[in-house]
């Protein structure tokens, strides 16, 4: 009897523990954090996390860290880099476990949930003195609708032109030197390319995303940030035009399941005639598809609003940091005009700091294609907009994409599909 009784007790105790442990996890996980006051002495060790930058820019970031440590001898920075794939999952795991680094490279859509969970430092309270150093639009890019404050320093910006394949345009009887500049021209040219090639050459390889709706002039969200509005008449109009393209095979057959990588590959293999990109892509075309590079055409983004789409990167300070002054000082140091300019010269990105875009590097032509793209993009970025609402999560992107696919397949009307997408995105917004 004694032999079996103890194990039973142990198993019972284990089971009780196993049940209670998860229940205990439902308590308040607040373990206290650092101060929001960034005015103290810059000292102590902080951790800085970047998003897939170590492979190509190791020496640049080591230089940044060294420079900071030289400027503030009592401070030490530990730099870590995470791969691009699954970056949001890594941040969410760290945030949930309370191991989020002190200074984190983020995009606006990542900042929103972190700010809502009280993990992103409000810079309007802790570092407002730096605001004037940045472009006003860039500073606002990390503000969350429904919340007061700015939750990350703006870092680099990115935008780019539309690339098109001159040979495919020419083969279809189109003027390869007159690419489309409006949506109407784009849809007409796409139809012609599909007709002339008997459906073998599609012009676009991706279904419209939230940025496309924004560029088309569709209002995406209400002013309060409490609901989405992309199901209005203009949104329905855009989707109806895309449906026509899809039916005419002017939109690639695999567009419904495409990813940015797969659409890039389609363009590279000359299966589609147009694709958005950046100056970085030119180098790739030169190396991986010399025939395409010979025929590459470059044209500005098509936009009905007169404003291009841009992507924004930011640097956030974790509210739980024990070294708030050092973390804020470092986040500012990485994103200040000097560091951003240095970084921009290493990679095809654009600084978000006031006046940096007036540098001759972004204004003077030297006859090279890369420079042409850079100068044109730098010009457009001054007025560009990040069309992706900061509250538009990954799940919402999937909802929109699935609804668009239903409309393109004819399973739902464009209006019905967009109403459905808005309804589902609003529900997700309420639950976030």
């Amino acid at each position: 009897m004694r032999i079996s009784r103890n194990p039973r007790r142990a198993v019972a105790a284990g089971a009780v523990l196993a049940v209670l442990l998860p229940l205990s996890a439902c308590g308040d996980g607040d373990d206290g954090g650092g101060s929001t006051d960034a005015s103290g002495k810059v000292e102590g060790e902080i951790t800085f996390q970047t998003w897939n930058l170590k492979a190509n820019f190791k020496s640049y970031f080591e230089g940044v860290v060294d420079g900071f440590e030289k400027k503030y001898p009592d401070a030490k920075v530990r730099w870590i880099d995470q791969p691009g794939e699954g970056y949001a999952d890594k941040i969410s795991a760290d945030a949930a476990a309370g191991t989020l680094p002190d200074v984190v490279n983020v995009s606006p859509d990542l900042v929103a949930p972190l700010a809502k969970a009280g993990l992103a430092l409000d810079l309007d309270k802790s570092a407002s003195k730096y605001e004037k150093e940045y472009l006003p639009g860039a500073w606002k890019s990390h503000q969350i609708p429904g919340m007061d404050g700015t939750y990350a320093f703006p870092w680099y910006l990115n935008t780019g032109p539309l690339f098109y394949n001159k040979r495919l345009f020419k083969d279809a009887g189109l003027d390869e030197n007159k690419p489309p500049t409006t949506y109407d021209e784009l849809f007409d040219d796409a139809q012609e390319l599909a007709d002339k090639s008997d459906g073998k050459v599609a012009t676009l390889a991706n279904v419209p995303t939230i940025e496309d709706f924004g560029r088309y002039g569709v209002p995406l969200m209400n002013k309060e940030g409490t609901g989405f509005t992309f199901n209005d008449a203009k949104g329905v109009e855009l989707l109806t035009k895309y449906k026509k393209l899809y039916d005419a095979k002017a939109l690639d057959g695999q567009a419904l399941t495409a990813t940015p990588e797969s659409t890039g590959k389609k363009f590279l293999t000359e299966a589609v005639a147009m694709n958005p990109g950046s100056a970085l892509d030119l180098e790739k075309f030169k190396k991986e598809a010399p025939r395409l590079y010979e025929n590459i055409g470059i044209t500005p983004q098509i936009s009905s609003t007169g404003k291009d789409n841009m992507y924004v990167m930011g640097v956030m300070v974790n509210t739980k940091t024990k070294q708030t002054p050092a973390a804020v000082a470092f986040a500012h140091y990485v994103t200040d005009a000097q560091r951003q300019m240095e970084f921009a010269k290493k990679v095809a990105i654009f600084p978000s700091t006031e006046g940096s875009l007036d540098d001759p590097y972004f204004t003077k032509q030297d006859g090279k294609d890369e420079t042409r793209v850079r100068v044109a993009a730098a010009k457009s970025i001054k007025t560009a907009v990040n069309y992706t609402p900061v509250l538009f999560s990954e799940q919402m992107k999937v909802e929109l994409r699935n609804s668009v696919a239903r409309a393109l397949q004819g399973k739902q009307s464009p209006k019905e599909a967009l109403d459905n997408a808005v309804k589902n995105c609003d529900r997700l917004l309420q639950q976030s």
Binding site: R2, I3, N6, P7, A10, G14, A18, V19, L21, P22, L23, A25, C26, G27, D28, G29, A88, D89, I91, S92, A95, A96, L110, P113, L114, K116, A117, L119, D252, G253, Q254, L256, T257, A258, T259, S262, T269, A271, S393, E394, Q395, V398, R401, N402, S403, A405, R406, Q409, K411, L428, Q431, S432
Partner: protein
Amino acid sequence: MKSTTASQAAPTDLATAGAARKEPRPHGRGPRRGIRRQLPTSPWLFAAPGLAIVGIFILYPFLSTLNNAFTDKRTLIEGDYVGFANFQELWHDEMFWIGLRNSTLYVLGVVPALVILPLLLALLVQKHIPGITFFRSAFYTPVVASIVVVGLIWVWMLDERGLVNALLEAVGVGKAGFLSDQWLLLLSAMTVTVWKGLGYYMIIYLAALANVPRELHEAAAVDGAGAVRRFFSVTVPAVRSTMVLVAALSSVAAFKVFSEVYLMAGPTGGPAGEDTTLVMLVQRVGTGLTGRVGYASAISVVVFVVTVALMLLVLRADRKEDA
């Protein structure tokens, strides 16, 4: 009598009985009692590392998932208990039913193929002929290949401009939307699962076939049974329990399919999400900074219940056959 020990003497009253209990036991019984004392603890000590791993990595996450299924927990927000609200929402969630349909179709499509084809393959490579080891290894190669690599290779082959479509066009059939049509996509993913699993189950069948007595085949042959008759009358009954095992293993794996469909249908789960499976749905709704952990846990609980039911169903069918 006074010289006898207390334990040998039968106590005559309560007082002496109590005294007898306090007396030390005879020297000779000490070691045996020592062994008995060690018995309860020592096996548990040996088992402790294993139990700790099971407890931390299996039992705790399982119970935690069960607990979360009744909360509205999100990635960064602990949430509150909501009773059966998540399960009620599942009932009205179109994507859940699509996921359940696809996971069930996956079981129905993949399991019969994985029960029968590896058996036929095992019969082919069972023969001891020169060079057969090469074929055994070749058929086993997909098992050890990474699913990501396998998925990418098949995506290239089944692409609109891939090898398979080029062949179809060459013979005049025309292109097929293996990666764009809802049903063809699911079928393509099933093909990859079967292709990758063939070698694994072939090895299991090879072991089972090695135990089929040769005399049975010889006797059947003497009685005039041909190869097909011998297969159904000798081989199949002999490996029936292995077939049940393969059916059970492959049905659970098929119901939990993720990688093949994710790699071929993309993160949206095919056009309009029509190829989403239940596990893909768990991943989609439960991860990321805005992940609905509670809701994803509720889907996981459904997956668990269905897989247990599948196992029981297969085992019950086996028992009926035995009876």
